[in-house]
């Protein structure tokens, strides 16, 4: 059984495409589409890696990441942040609160796969 990734993203067609390419690449994919209870879902599913969108309904990706980094269990969990805004200050903010990697939409499938393999060696 492959490594497990949790995709937290609210755009259904992005979820579908990412899930497809990741599962073809050997990942076991879980998805979640709102910010409210995202932190609990991460704790419950305990994935090897999280793909986290910044703009989520209910709670922002930054807030979710901050909470994850304050919890000893998820402190070192690899998190790839996705954002539709590629401004330097967004990147800086993501790095400061502890994102493992940061990727700007629209990304290519190959980029995502490559980053994921770097973050979690299979």
């Amino acid at each position: 059984m492959g490594k497990r990734v949790l995709v937290i993203e609210d755009e259904p067609n992005i979820i579908e495409a990412i899930s497809f390419i990741l599962s073809r690449d050997g990942w076991t994919v879980d998805t979640h589409s709102n910010g409210h209870d995202a932190v609990e879902v991460v704790r419950r599913k305990a994935p090897d890696l999280v793909i986290l969108d910044v703009m989520l309904p209910g709670k922002s990706g930054y807030d979710i990441l901050t909470e994850l980094r304050h919890d000893p269990v998820t402190q070192t969990l690899p998190v790839l942040m996705l954002t539709a805004r590629g401004q330097i200050k967004d990147r800086e903010l993501a790095e400061r609160i502890g994102a493992s990697r940061f990727m700007t939409k629209p990304f290519s499938n190959a980029e995502v796969l490559e980053v994921l393999r770097e973050l979690v060696p299979q």
Binding site: E11, N13, I14, E16, A17, I18, F20, I21, R24, M55, A84, R85, K105, P106, F107, S108, N109, A110
Partner: protein
């Protein structure tokens, strides 16, 4: 009368109108004719006793010689000087300059005002790009759709031997997203076009609303009778150019109709005649809230000989959300108002009614009785802490009324306020060097 006249020119004009000779007027006030000649040609500054003597000899109010359109010109030039201290324009030469080269002075003042307008437009546009929630939402929507399309297209192009079910599914997704992208990009273009158009006319929707209210003098006769609808009034108003402006006006007028229903025009006029413009007495008579009674007082048509009523309201951030100006009590054009206003005191003491007599510092500031109160902006519930709004009614005090206490001195906005050593000062005044 020319806009450019200064004190000296006014003295000269008055003298000639009265058929007085320069030498005679000079003798009456005890100066030489040549000195008066210099004064009349704005070559000597004049003030104090000599001004009073000249005014009395000419039988006019001293202020009619010194105040008027040129005061605004001088103030603007002073502002221009403050905006560019590096140019080291000589402060003492300012009035002399305006007097001797009136055309150039007006040109400089106008250029300065144009620069301010442009600076403000640039600020608004920069602000819009970073903070406009509509724009941010549109961009997010477009980028999300593009991301989905790119990713899905990648799968279709690069996955060898993709099963027909998956292929159909991704084709359908890509088609949906393409339609969404077309719609959201059209909406974005329409929004940006609309913005540019609105930008060239009136600045913000709030400014449109204000121009609309000023035009109507805050009174809408057609909404005082049954049958008049806010929509009809909004549609008929040419000054409402943007959708946002119309929507603000609609919300304002809907509240107006509601207020008018609770305090109908005829009864309100009768009550005002009986009780005077006292918001709490009126609120009690009609069983309405204080802010409502205050708004109605400000909305009632002014009858001949009756003093106009001003009103301001602000939200919890101190931003003025309703402004009805009146002569002698200036409201800042944009930016923050004077923190000494009873309006803001009320905001820090919610529900406590504050009655205070105030006078605006500087020239021409009349004396006003103000009534201020801060109340929750919405219904109070246990679910959410209330947000407060403050309201202040401004009534002129007739000059013959004897006041018990000295009125409290307040300003308009720091930049144009002459009050020295003020605890509320946020930024230096551009006026102090001239006074």
């Amino acid at each position: 009368m020319s806009q450019r006249q200064l004190t000296g020119s006014r003295i000269r004009e008055r003298r000639i109108m009265q058929g007085l000779r320069q030498a005679d007027l000079a003798r009456t006030v005890g100066i030489s004719a040549s000195y008066l000649n210099l004064i009349e040609h704005n070559r000597r500054r004049i003030g104090g006793k000599l001004l009073l003597a000249l005014a009395s000899a000419l039988g006019v109010e001293p202020s009619s010689l010194t105040e008027g359109a040129e005061a605004a010109l001088i103030a603007t030039l002073r502002e221009a000087r403050a905006a560019d201290p590096g140019a080291a324009a000589e402060p003492d030469a300012l009035e002399d300059f305006a007097g001797r080269f009136p055309g150039w002075a007006v040109l400089l003042a106008r250029r300065h005002q144009r620069v301010l307008e442009l600076e403000r437009t640039v600020e608004t546009l920069t602000d819009r790009l970073t903070h406009d929630p509509h724009l941010a939402a549109s961009m997010h929507e477009m980028l999300s759709t593009v991301t989905a399309i790119r990713s899905t297209a990648g799968i279709l192009a690069e996955t060898a031997g993709l099963e027909p079910e998956w292929r159909d599914r991704f084709h359908r997704n890509i088609n949906e997203d393409a339609q969404r992208l077309a719609q959201s990009s059209q909406a974005l273009v329409a929004y940006l076009d609309g913005e540019v158009e609105a930008e060239t006319k009136l600045g913000s929707p709030q400014e449109e609303l204000e121009a609309f209210l000023v035009e109507a003098e805050h009174h809408f006769a057609e909404l005082e009778k049954p049958g008049g609808t806010p929509e009809a009034v909004v549609q008929a108003a040419e000054v409402l150019q943007s959708a946002a402006g119309r929507s603000l006006a609609r919300a304002y007028l809907e509240r107006y109709v509601e207020d008018a229903r609770k305090m109908p025009l005829e009864q309100a006029l009768k009550a005002r005649a009986e009780l005077g413009p006292d918001p709490s007495a009126l609120a009690l008579r009609f069983g309405v809230s204080l802010p409502l009674a205050m708004r109605r007082l400000a909305e009632l048509p002014a009858r001949d000989g009756e003093a106009p009523v001003g009103m301001v309201s602000c939200d919890a951030s101190g931003t003025l959300v309703l402004r009805k100006a009146l002569p002698g009590f200036a409201l800042p054009r944009f930016g923050a108002a004077c923190p000494l206003w009873p309006l803001f005191q009320a905001l820090s003491r919610p529900m406590v009614p504050i009655r205070q007599v105030v006078q605006q510092a500087g020239r021409g500031g009349g004396v006003f009785r103000t009534y201020a109160i801060a109340q929750p902006a919405t219904e109070v519930s246990f679910e959410e802490e209330p947000l407060f709004e403050a309201h202040m009614l401004i009534l002129p005090v007739e000059t013959q009324v004897r006041l018990q206490d000295r009125p409290k001195e307040v300003g308009v906005s720091c930049r144009i306020c002459p009050r020295e050593a003020c605890a509320g000062r946020r930024e230096p005044s551009i006026l102090t060097d001239g006074f």
